[in-house]
Amino acid sequence: MATLTRQDLNFGQVAADILCEFLEVAIHLILYVREIYPSGIFQKRKKYSVPVQMSCHPELNQYIQDTLHCVKPLIEKNEAEKVVVVIMDKEHHPVERFVFEISPPPLLSISSETLLSHVEQLLRAMILKISVCDAVLDNNPPGCTFTVLVHTREAATRNMEKVQVIKDFPWIVADEQDVHMEEAKLIPLKTMTSDILKMQLYVEERTQKT
């Protein structure tokens, strides 16, 4: 980043890069913490100076990467409102939703390198919160799957159809049942406010999981 001059620095892209990188780490970590996949496929890595778990299953990794690849343009244009990792039970009813709610930062600015380290600190805090979120959540029933939803703003989808980032990775409108959970409880995990983005993470949890 340091080599870029200010002119080269597209604000939206920088924010989107940072955010997508974070989301990737976060999704891996959620999958690990919520035990969606056997812990055997995860490896310990270091990100934001803290240990994180990352899947080493190539297809899963590819899926996550593709997903985020498609999300990124939306984030760049500030068209994504929420990125939701939905964990569903065998019947494909959501039991947990990890909602990353992204809002424009209160102060738009990139002033210096220190800022990026500040962002990193905030992201680290969020990662740590995710890694301990099992303390506040009930256990999930066995056999869960996951899916990623993106809540877009306004007519972002139409543009998405026009410019498909990855040809064989289309997005579909989410089913109502994926989105809504009956008797959901909301557990805020972490809020961060930095100069380039404002994001909060909360979990919606179904009251009766089994």
């Binding site: 102060l107 738009l108 809020t191 919606e204």
Partner: protein
């Protein structure tokens, strides 16, 4: 380019259709000729520019250069030349000489000398026309006239850096409400004109979309800001809804009050009175937001009324209202105020401070100094730009003094001081008063007034006399005066004749009248002061630009260079200057000259009156030895008394003291200064601009608090004033000092001077901040902390001052959109901006009131087998799912910003409270404004103070598909290009605030609707939206039963005599009142946009206006705060204090907490909300009082409702 109205009209009429038609055709033809000729002329003459774009001149009478030449110049430099004067189109009249009749006729027009044009061309830019005005009458004290026409005069309104003496306050100071009124009307007019395709001058000149854009965007603002027509209705309406609102206690209390009041007084009075206490909290925010809103900076709502709303205070309040309390400037009525002169609920009325300062005579005059400094600066910069200025006076002198006797030159400073300025200006046109003892004062009677109850002037007089004796060691003259009946109006200035009779400036008029029975009083005449001061400065500037403005009537001139250049003696120069001033102003000036500032000033003393004195360096020693120490700068009463105790009375005595002794007595710096000064040594340079050491605002008139909240709110308002001033000066400071004047124990409660402070003790405390600030909010928080630390009885407060020291320049963007950090990214954003249509920048989008949300997913099953998605044709995928419109609810609560539009009324004291002579002395515009507001008040006695808490916006609607569909139907196709010009500028419908829309006048609504219809949308949506707004319930109402229950319980409990002190929440909250629980602290974004635009309406001809830029600089939502605290640890402390010190929570506090929590939800800071809730749960459920548990349940219920609405699920509280 000139296909404007004239042409159209002419073609419509067949034939000439009378003179109008003929003239119109002729004028338009002439204009066409002009346009045609212009390029030719430009070609001919190599140099051309467009410095006069937007300027249309009309030459009246003989000028030099001639009218033809001026016409050519205007052609060359992008201006317009009108052969016939048209009031609406001609911006400047060029003349060198005008008969009186014409001057009368052209009142309010800009009549400018032709030099303006030539000089501007020389300077290469359009100079401010102000110094070139032909006659000084047009130099108003008021902003209004300039601004109303400002659109045609870029120089005066676009470049705040360029001082314009027509602006009594610099541009950065927020405009007075009245000004907005005028402005909005003006704009309305012009936009209407546009609709008739009768394009006004400016669009003709510019023709660019830029202008159109601004024009069009104005519409919603206009309507909203045009309060007068729809005012009454709307307010009534709002009040109706308001009574359903959350503040049940208030509503009820109002009822109670009303009933009690109606028995006590007239119906109208009671109504109004009740409004003071109940409705005012809702109204005040509106009003003050209005004021603040004009200010594009991120300000938080100034502390609103402190009208106490505590449930358990209602009874007390009521009594007071029936008694003497309601003398607030805003709401007092004639009948009552005359009976109750004693009280004024200062703290209860926010905005009184702005009001006070905007009408304060002293403040006016003191601001002039800065203006003149700026004036001098601008002269200098202009002369630099022009590559050397023309000094007419200097030239004249040069001619006169062809035979020079050049002597030894050393530095020479001239101190020019008008002789008893106010008096000589006041009697300028009254030769009958010349040579008589005259005093300028607001009192014009015989100097006797009836004594008011509670006052004890004798005691005060004795006190002052004692105090004086203590300082001066002068035995009391023992005159036992019948002080009780003497006028306490102070004498601002008195003539030398009066001074001979021992009348002094600052003396009370009554006393002066006794000393000098012939004393004549002259009213204030600010207009004239300004004129005279300006011509004095103009005169000085015609000699040199090395001028330091000291005040409106005195200046320092560094004549060293000038004298060398001219080779004249200082005496010659002084004589020339004095003659010039006398000739131009009719007032005499004295000039003191010497080698430095100190001596020059001392010489002036000797020169006075109407003389000049050159203190030669060889005479200095003798001269200064006899000067009293008090004549040294910096030696005031206390220091001179100290010096007297050291046996020092003259500078000669002082010279005897050693520097070490002085430094021991007075501190190192002061000691050294004294040491030097008493020897006539002074190395201060003549500086055209002085560095400011502190920024402060102080008010010690009419301070009568009855409750802590009033003081708090007053402090908040005062902080806002300080903020305003700091912003005006572009400074931030670290040290905040709170100065308080307290009634001296034993002093009479009511001082002899009405509203005065009487005998007081002064207290001051200060705090050093970690970082410099100019935020009024921060200052207020600190000031309130200081205030509590001082532990004072608010009832005895007589004066409050806030000072900010340790200043440094604020490098914030002058447009004030945020801290400096924002700047670095700005280029970046600007570069990015064009990709979006102007209204669609990401932030605006993020905050737009409608977020249509669509859900997309890609699925992935655990067995790593990609689920083939069902075929999804593009058309279906963009269809929103019914019931998924939750996004519509994500719109943050942005209630009550509309209110702010509605209230443009200014706060003025009731007529009976105003000193008539002062009023008369005020500039015409201000006076009109005041009178108008009285009239207005009389017309709408019942509504003028009505504005209740706003209904909240969509977030309070119950979630469900029905709402969803409504929201989704809203047309929000952004950035679709439109064919007609006007529609092009319409903001995206989703950005139109429905409440603003509802507040628009009907015609405008219809106009807008049709415009949107043209855009391909149906009006029905708008109406649906409008009605949706009406139906919306304020969120707390959802919990109405709960409130009611809680409240009843409280009422029972509160019947017990045990009275509790103010709760910590209240204590800490600046200007606390439950009205604040309406989340109106922040300025909602849409409003801000509009105001930014609104601000530019006055000057749309500026090419520099960049709409996307203004949008991109929009403000973030301010961080939600609870009682001023926003850090979680502070919140926790506050809550703990609240719960542990109070046995029963008060509803207002609970509502405050609920409001805070709601704001947290809106701010998307669920984490903090969660922590706060959990902390409260711990605290409150541990509390022994079950009422706390109930309070928590209440808070939690409310918060859950909000969270449910926003997120569709509730918080998990374990």
């Amino acid at each position: 380019m000139s296909r404007d109205g004239w042409r159209k009209k002419a073609s419509e009429d067949d034939g000439w259709g009378g003179r109008g038609g003929y003239m119109a055709a002729k004028i338009s033809k002439l204009e066409e000729q002009f346009q045609k000729d212009a390029p030719r002329e430009k070609q001919k003459d190599g140099m051309s520019s467009c410095i006069f774009s937007g300027v249309a001149i009309y030459v009246n009478g003989y000028t030099d250069p001639s009218a033809d030449e001026l016409r050519r110049l205007m052609m060359l430099h992008g201006g317009q030349f009108h052969l016939y004067y048209t009031r609406s189109k001609t911006t400047h009249i060029i003349a060198t000489n005008l008969p009186n009749r014409k001057i009368q006729e052209l009142k309010g027009e800009k009549v400018v000398r032709p030099e303006w044009i030539t000089d501007s061309i020389k300077a290469g830019r359009q100079l401010s026309y102000v110094p070139y005005q032909l006659y000084t009458k047009q130099k108003g004290l008021n902003f209004t006239s300039v601004c109303a026409r400002g659109k045609q005069d870029p120089s005066s309104s676009h470049e705040p850096s360029k001082p314009d003496l027509n602006h009594p306050e610099s541009d950065s100071i927020k405009p007075q409400p009245s000004h907005t009124q005028t402005l909005s009307k003006e704009v309305l007019k012009s936009t209407h004109a546009n609709h008739k395709a009768n394009f006004t001058e400016r669009s003709k000149h510019q023709g660019s979309q830029d202008t159109l854009l601004t024009n069009g965007y104005v519409h919603p603002v206009n309507g909203a800001l045009k309060p007068q027509d729809s005012f009454a209705e709307l307010q009534l309406h709002v009040v109706d809804t308001g009574s359903h609102q959350s503040h049940l206690p208030q509503t009820e209390s109002r009822d109670r009050e009303e009933s009690s009041c109606s028995s006590a007084g007239s119906k109208a009075n009671s109504h109004q009175r009740s409004l003071i206490s109940t409705a005012s909290p809702a109204k005040q925010p509106g009003l003050h937001n209005m004021q603040k809103d004009l200010h594009p900076k991120p300000t938080f709502k100034p502390g609103t009324s402190a009208a106490p709303q505590k449930g358990n205070l209602h009874d007390q309040k009521r009594v007071r209202l029936n008694g003497s309390y309601h003398m607030t400037p805003n709401s007092s009525t004639l009948a009552d105020s005359s009976n109750q002169p004693g009280r004024s609920g200062q703290g209860a009325e926010a905005g009184i401070i702005s009001e006070f300062f905007s009408h304060s005579r002293l403040h006016h005059i003191s601001t002039w100094r800065n203006e003149f400094s700026e004036y001098v600066n601008s002269l200098q910069s202009r002369s630099r730009a022009a590559g050397g200025a023309v000094f007419s006076g200097k030239e004249k002198l040069k001619k006169l003094k062809a035979n020079c006797s050049s002597g030894v030159r050393q530095s020479c400073i001239l101190h020019v001081d008008m002789d008893c300025f106010f008096v000589s200006v006041g009697i300028r046109h009254r030769p009958d008063l010349k040579g008589k003892p005259v005093a300028v004062t607001s009192n014009r009677g015989p100097g006797r007034v009836a004594q008011r109850p509670g006052a004890n002037p004798q005691l005060e007089f004795q006190y002052y006399q004692r105090k004086q004796n203590q300082y001066r060691k002068v035995p009391s003259n023992g005159v036992d005066l019948d002080l009780a009946a003497l006028s306490m109006a102070e004498i601002a200035s008195c003539s030398y004749e009066a001074r001979q009779a021992d009348v002094r400036n600052g003396m009370f008029f009554g006393r002066a009248k006794q000393l000098c029975p012939d004393l004549q009083s002259v009213p204030y005449d600010f207009q004239a002061y300004k004129e005279v001061a300006l011509s004095m400065y103009e005169t000085l500037a015609s000699y040199t630009h090395n001028i330091e403005a000291l005040s409106c009537d005195e200046a320092l001139v560094d004549a060293t260079k000038l004298l060398v250049e001219l080779g004249v003696t200082p005496d010659d120069l002084a004589r020339a200057i004095r003659e010039d001033i006398k000739e131009k102003t009719g007032c005499s000036a004295s000039v003191g000259m010497s080698s430095n500032i100190l001596l020059a000033r001392m010489a002036t003393r000797k020169a006075k009156p109407n003389g000049q004195y050159f203190l030669r360096s060889e005479e200095v020693d003798d001269f200064i030895r006899d000067q009293p120490v008090s004549s040294l700068p910096g030696v005031g009463r206390s220091m001179s008394s100290k010096l007297t105790s050291l046996g020092v009375s003259t500078c000669g005595d002082l010279q005897q003291l050693s520097i070490s002794r002085l430094q021991r007595e007075f501190g190192p710096r002061t000691g050294q200064t004294l040491f030097r000064f008493c020897r006539g040594l002074d190395d201060r340079p003549v500086r055209s601009e002085k560095e400011r050491k502190s920024v402060s605002a102080e008010m010690n008139y009419n301070i009568r608090f009855t409750q802590v909240e009033e003081a708090e709110s007053f402090l908040t308002n005062l902080s806002m004033e300080v903020q305003k001033r700091m912003e005006g000066a572009g400074l931030r400071g670290r040290r905040i000092t709170l100065k308080v004047m307290m009634r001296k124990p034993g002093a009479p409660v009511e001082p002899a001077k009405y509203g005065g402070h009487g005998i007081c003790d002064n207290f001051a405390r200060s705090v050093l901040l970690a970082q410099p600030t100019d935020s009024g909010q921060l200052i207020a928080a600190e000031a309130i902390k200081l205030f509590y630390a001082m532990k004072l009885d608010v009832k005895d407060m007589r004066g409050v001052g806030l000072q900010v020291q340790q200043l440094e320049g604020s490098y914030a963007d002058p447009s004030g959109q945020g801290p400096s950090r924002g700047r670095s990214i700005k280029d970046l954003l600007l570069a990015k901006q064009p990709a979006h249509s102007p209204r669609k920048d990401p932030l605006a989008q993020g905050q737009s009131s409608v977020n249509r949300t669509e859900f997309f997913k890609s699925t992935f099953s655990s067995n790593q087998e990609r689920v083939t998605p069902p075929s999804s044709p593009p058309s279906t995928s963009s269809d929103p799912m019914p019931g998924t419109s939750k996004g519509g609810l994500h719109h943050p609560h942005t209630p009550n910003h509309v209110r702010t539009y509605l209230n443009v009324s200014i706060e003025v004291p009731s007529p009976s409270q105003v000193d008539q002579s002062v009023l008369e002395a005020l500039p015409v515009d201000i006076r009109k404004q005041v009178e108008q507001s009285w009239r207005h008040r009389e017309e709408q006695p019942s509504t003028s103070s009505h504005l209740s808490t706003p209904p909240r916006t969509s977030s309070s609607l119950p979630p469900g598909p029905s709402l969803g569909t409504l929201v989704l139907q809203l047309p929000d196709q952004p950035g679709q290009p439109c064919t007609t010009g006007i529609i092009l500028e319409l903001p995206d419908f989703s950005q139109v605030d429905p409440e603003v829309f509802a507040a628009l006048p009907r015609e405008l609504q219809e106009e807008l609707c049709s415009a949107y219809r043209n855009k391909g949308n149906a009006q029905a949506h708008a109406q649906a939206q409008g009605s949706a707004v009406e139906q919306k319930n304020p969120f707390p109402q959802l919990k109405q039963p709960a409130v009611g229950k809680l409240k009843r319980r409280y009422k029972k409990r509160n019947a017990s005599p045990a009275k509790k002190g103010p709760s910590p929440l209240k204590k800490l909250f600046p200007g606390n009142s439950p009205a604040k629980s309406s989340p109106s602290k922040t300025l909602p974004l849409p409003l801000k946009h509009r105001l930014i635009h609104f601000k530019y309406i006055g000057c749309p001809s500026s090419p520099s206006i960049d709409v996307p830029e203004t949008l991109s600089k929009l403000n973030p939502r301010p961080v939600p705060t609870l009682a001023g605290a926003y850090e979680f640890s502070d919140i926790r402390t506050l809550l703990r204090e609240w719960v542990t010190t109070i046995s029963e929570p008060m509803e207002e506090d609970i509502l405050q907490v609920v409001k805070y929590c709601t704001e947290l939800v809106e701010d998307k800071d669920l984490e903090k909300l969660y922590l706060v809730i959990k902390y409260m749960k711990r605290l409150m459920q541990q509390s022994s009082e079950s009422v706390w548990s109930m309070a928590f349940d209440f808070v939690l219920d409310n918060v859950q409702v909000v969270v449910q609405q926003t997120y569709g699920s509730t918080l998990k509280i374990t």
